[in-house]
Amino acid sequence: MTGFLLRTDDVLRRRPWTTQSVGATSALLRLAANLVVFGMVYGAVLGSFGGISGERFRQVVYAALKVPLLLLATFLIGLPSFFVLNTLLGLRRDFGQAVRALVATQAGLAIVLASLAPVTAFWYASSADYAAAVRFNVLTFSVASLAAQALLRGYYRPLIERTGKHRAMLWTWLFIYAFVGIQMGWILRPFVGDPHAPVQFLREGAWGNAYVVVAELICRAFAR
């Protein structure tokens, strides 16, 4: 347990083993374990808004499953285009290192989220407003994303020093990840779980497009 937590600390400090090609498989497994464990920790707290007893406990389990799913699925969907674009820009030799940096960042994102879990729990304990709880979680996810981005920049620095083209790829990745991730988060709702609604893994009728919803909201605001 202590060993595991020490390894977690290594991710935040960008220790060499996290992105070295030597022993990459075991590093990958460790990072994936970090991602799943800490994602589930935050997810469990995230889903505890309506309580943890009886029926509401299922919401806790669902949210704990959905947070790692959100991160992993977004990563996997974006990976093929990242691979082809890297190859086309002549960065194939560095691709292994780039992907290891991305995986380490994913683990870092989950760790930052988990570190915010007590704050979320405190917020839930102090306010019973569902809409405010959702907004608070948007805030925690934004904070964690910014922290992860700083981590990724650190991992990418040696690559960018090698060639400036990696900077373009970094921005491309952030765009792809955000574009897919926002929609992934939207369809995997409910995370927080409205206490007045029945517990579900996926919300009925939530199958829609986040960007279309936002465009409609903006249009409605202008039409008023």
Binding site: L76, I77, G78, P80, S81, F83, V84, L85, T87, L88, L89, G90, L91, R92, R93, E161, R162, T163, G164, K165, I176, F179, V180, Q183, M184, I187, W207, G208, N209, Y211, V212, A215, C219
Partner: protein, 273 residues
Amino acid sequence: MWHWIQELDQILRGEKTSLPALREGRLEIPAIGLSAVIVILGLLYGVCMGTYAIFRDGGPCYDQTLASTVKVPALFVLTLIVTFPSLYVFNALVGSRLTILPVLRLLIASLAVNLAVLSSLGPIVAFFSVNTTSYPFMVLLNVAVFALSGVLGLTFLLQTLHRLSIAQGRQPPLPLPPGPADTGSNDAEPNAAVVAVAVEEPGALDRATEHVLGKHVKAVFGCWVVVFGLVGAQMGWVLRPFIGDPNLGFQWFRPRGSNFFESVWQSMLSLIS
């Protein structure tokens, strides 16, 4: 098959189109094998595109998925067949030394790059197709994906054309800059340009730095983009529907009328209204 995919990989890495590889003025690419890869990649993207018809409002329409799957490779192959004679003639008129086979190989290689990017974006399109009910959004997303892959394919075409003309000795090298003036490298060693090539793997889209774009390279490329772009866009329009409007019944082809650019504009309007 695996061999052809490896050939595509070498094209993407820029190994097939690097200056030393083109030194003979020849483009060593298996045209037939690569065409097969193009068709397969097109089929893959077509499936991703046709996923929308399975999950849309009003029940699945598998015919539309099948139609999308077939139409994407057809779009590229037919456009190449229709435009190839005129592309070759313009190329000869402008005074390029490329003969008919290298021109064909060059175009096929560019299409392969185009389709590799397109199909790599396929999972993203499929993901949005599964959970989006808004038809205009899917149209715009697909247009954006096609545009991005098209731009990268054309960049590859331009740079390879440029390198081919250098390899054939048509381009005088620029006078050597004094000292290490290669902007792309931070290397302070005296032989910076050479070191940079060795350290920084040259990509398929990089410009051969020590040469300027020749006048006839620009002319050939300009003609090709206009001809290929116009025919391609209209071919896409003729082969429609690719995605399948849920409010209309399934048809293999829609009645002729209107054009591509007007339709994109209409999609934008209907998304924001």
